[in-house]
Amino acid sequence: MPVRYVKIFAVTVLGLGCLVLVVTAVVDPYGVSPLGINLPRFNANKYKRVDVDRLIKPVEVLQKQPRTIFIGTSRVHESLDPSRFTGSRFAPAYNASIPNITLAETLGYLKEFSALDDKLKYVFIELFFPQFNMYGQTVSGQDKSPMDLASDLTSLFFSIDALVNARLTVKLNIQGKEMGAYVNETGRYQFPPNHGPNPSLNFHGFPLFMLKAHQPLIKSDRNWTLDEPSFSMLDKIVKFGHERNIEVVFLILPNHPIYDHFYLVNGHWGLIDWQEWKRRLAKYPNVIDFSPYNEIGDEKISEHVKYWFDPIHPSVTVGDMVLSALVPGLESAVPQNFRADLNVDTVDARLRETQEKLAAWITANPEYLTAYRDAVVQLAPASAADNYSHE
């Protein structure tokens, strides 16, 4: 009796396990199955191919073997379209960005992608100020092993999430539900066609969102000093690229003045830290700065904002400008001071210009300051005065 019991247990486990694998591979909720089955009203729309970048990006790099890869935060994730490189020496390209990625993780993924992709030649890596001084920066994630890919594949094909998402994928396809945001086949975060910025939420609501998100940090006495391990990761990235004969280019994407203003008034950024950050980056090779102020930052906030999804995330239009500024011959009109190669010779002038233009923007936008004050009062009436001491 017990022997039969153990056999039945084993058969159940094996049978059910195989069934799960077949279901997830056929339905393919994340669009990574080697079977590649895509049937209308069954699984053609991959509604659940979103927020799974850490899992799908290594698998797709292995499958697609791109020559060029973008690695960055949600800013690159949403704005840089690799298909713009078609026909250039960078093609084929793939957007391997991961929202909230740290520099340690960037190094880890760079190593992993390099191991998975024999054709990898160019890597564009975003450098974002919070990666150098926000809380949550750690050195973990800088090493990846083949077990990580095995773990990713298990999550994508043999997990409860995969199974539930397979069911939802079929259900939503049968219902013919409109696609929301998802990660498209180039790895870029794709908003639905009619998506536009919501001024009241994304821009006027931005101060409250930022204040809420940064509440613990604002309350603490901790200074947002530059994070040395992040620079050490940067050193390792440069070294790794050199050793593997991969050309690494660092990108600093544009910031909206609203975003810069937040750090400025909270005193934690203090232009001193920010200036220090830029000066140190200027010592690294291949750092291209797209953040100088110009018409992109000065764009009036409305329902038809062209250059921004929200104050943190530049739009695909800006992304196209960035890519065309990188590859001569790509068509896209860019402002005159759009691209600046950051180095020790240019950094001071750039810093001065940014500082002056931010001050001018603040003066020219008193209504935004009022919105910011309201947000501060709404969140913490008692400490409202304190928050303005740095203004």
Binding site: M1, P2, V3, R4, Y5, V6, K7, I8, F9, A10, V11, T12, V13, L16, G17, V20, D51, P99, N100, S151, T154, S155, F158, S159, I160, D161, L163, V164, N165, F209, A213, Q215, P216, K219, Q378, L379
Partner: protein, 508 residues
């Protein structure tokens, strides 16, 4: 290497079990016991090989002293000295690794000094194997140890199913079993029972506890970040943690019991539906039963127990629970948690004393009074868990204030915490069921479903207790239907392994 990992389930366990079967078949106990010791040390060293030295040193010193106490013909004073040296050695080892940072921090705070020590990494499981060996030395001194042999002793301490987080087994229940390992001892019935109990534990951990943690963690993180909470959110977090820690730890214990059973070894019970307790005394007879047993036999009774009058009894209870709290971790929250439970026990014993004194009957009351008592006990335990889980006493007090409707008006609700701008999800399973349904379901399992001991009562230990309908109906047997059911549970549990989280009790 966690029990709830692919590495353990797919590689380590089959290898050790297969090796054990071969060793037992061709060498009997002579090969099987050393094989299990080597496998257990490998298991321990997987986490950090350096700490193998701590474990091995601890085992060697205790084995030497234990052997002396078991066999020596020394004077009582010499034997007492050997016992005391052993206890001091164990406590110093535990104290160094577990409490140095805490001590230095408090000394610095108290005297304004600036003593600096490098961060000391706690060897995993040290609290458990230290207690285990102290109990052994005390009993060896009392000449109360049977079947002592060095190999059995090493296996008793290092046997991987209990090494990291218990149950705190006793040499009297282990040594004879190890001595009984014989040729061809891999019994199909034990395999069937062990596999099934392990599966139930794995399901409790990966499906119930880990998903419930997705509700508890954001709430406690928000408190730590200074975010004000409304009462409903605070209660959701507190209840979620109350169920999480139960399913996490009892799940771990079931897995340990199941694993041991695969090798034909029966472990003591560690949990027995603690939230069905109708008073705190009963709660501690059902929660982490092997720790309660250790504290009672090796601390409470030597302190005088209840033999020196009521006042002394209450003082002993408080002291034992304070130390029990401190055993869980080097932080004031744990001390406070222990003290609070000590206070609950004192009130409970005081109430009993008064009822006896005024000749009020102690019989079980009507159903509604029992339900009321159960609810009161559960609420007290939940409040105490908030202190246990919080990072600091201040955070705990803020959480408790929110639960008592003292939160500010602009407090955050659960939805804000669980999905801030869509960047954090609560997991597909919780989304499928909904938070409320999930918590009700989990509570129903904790309160109404048969516990593992009751489910396997035909083949395992079970205690007489208040039985529910499901207790009567569900009895595991090695039948085809149960084979399929347990197989399904296993697959569902394994499908959750992609979110591997350590067991809560590993940190203690």
């Amino acid at each position: 290497m966690l029990f709830n990992s692919y590495t353990f389930i797919l590689f380590f366990l089959p290898c050790v079990l297969g090796g054990f079967a071969l060793a037992a078949r061709y060498g009997g106990r002579r090969l099987a016991v050393p094989w299990l010791i080597v496998a257990s040390l490998f298991y321990y060293g997987w986490w950090n090989p350096r700490f193998l030295l701590v474990l091995v040193l601890s085992m060697l010193v205790n084995a030497a002293l234990g052997k002396y106490l078991c066999e020596a013909h020394g004077s009582p004073a010499q034997r007492r000295a050997a016992r005391n040296i052993g206890i001091a050695f164990n406590l110093l080892l535990l104290g160094f690794f577990k409490y140095t940072d805490f001590l230095v921090f408090n000394l610095n705070s108290l005297f304004g000094s600036d003593i600096k020590v490098d961060e000391i990494v706690l060897p995993i499981g040290i609290s458990f194997f230290t207690f285990l060996q102290i109990a052994f030395l005390v009993d060896a001194y009392r000449r109360d140890v049977v079947d002592f042999s060095l190999t059995n002793y090493f296996l008793f301490v290092s046997f991987f199913p209990h090494l990291i987080a218990g149950p705190i087994v006793h040499h009297k229940e282990m040594m004879p079993q190890f001595a009984g390992i014989r040729r061809g001892c891999l019994d199909p019935l034990n395999i069937a029972i062990g596999l099934s109990i392990f599966t139930v534990g794995l399901f409790k951990k990966t499906v119930i506890a880990d998903n419930t943690a997705r509700l508890a963690d954001p709430v406690f993180l928000a408190v730590a970040a200074g975010t004000p909470l409304n009462a409903a959110t605070a209660w959701t977090g507190a209840l979620a943690y109350t169920f999480q820690i139960y399913f996490d730890f009892s799940g771990y214990s079931d897995m340990a019991i199941g694993l041991a059973r695969l090798f034909g070894i029966v472990f003591p019970l560690n949990f027995y539906s603690p939230y069905r307790a109708v008073n705190i005394i009963e709660f501690w007879r059902r929660w982490h039963m092997t720790l309660s047993r250790f504290l009672r036999n090796y601390l409470y009774i030597p302190l005088g127990g209840n033999r020196l009058g009521e006042r002394r009894r209450y003082a002993n209870l408080i002291l034992v629970m304070l130390l029990g709290g401190l055993w869980h971790g080097a932080a004031w929250t744990f001390v406070l948690w222990g003290g609070l439970h000590g206070l609950f026990l004192v009130i409970n014993h005081g109430w009993r004393y008064l009822r006896e004194r005024f000749a009020m009957p102690m019989t079980a009351g009507a159903v509604w009074t029992r339900l009321l008592a159960l609810l009161l006990t559960f609420v007290c335990v939940t409040f105490a868990w908030v202190i246990f889980r919080a990072d600091t006493v201040d955070h705990a007090l803020r959480m408790l204030a929110s639960m008592c409707l003292q939160g500010p008006k602009n407090a955050s609700n659960l939805r804000d915490l669980l999905a801030p701008r869509g960047t954090m999800t609560i997991g597909t399973l919780l989304q499928e069921f909904g938070v409320g349904t999930w918590l009700v379901g989990v509570a129903a399992i904790a309160f109404l479903a048969p516990n593992t001991s009751v489910l396997f009562r035909n083949y395992n230990q079970a205690l007489p207790m208040l039985v529910t309908l499901s207790d009567r109906l569900l009895v595991w047997r090695p039948t085809m239907a149960w084979g399929v059911a347990i197989g399904v549970l296993f697959v569902v549990a394994v499908l959750h392994l992609t979110h591997i989280t350590p067991f809560l009790y590993f940190q203690f």
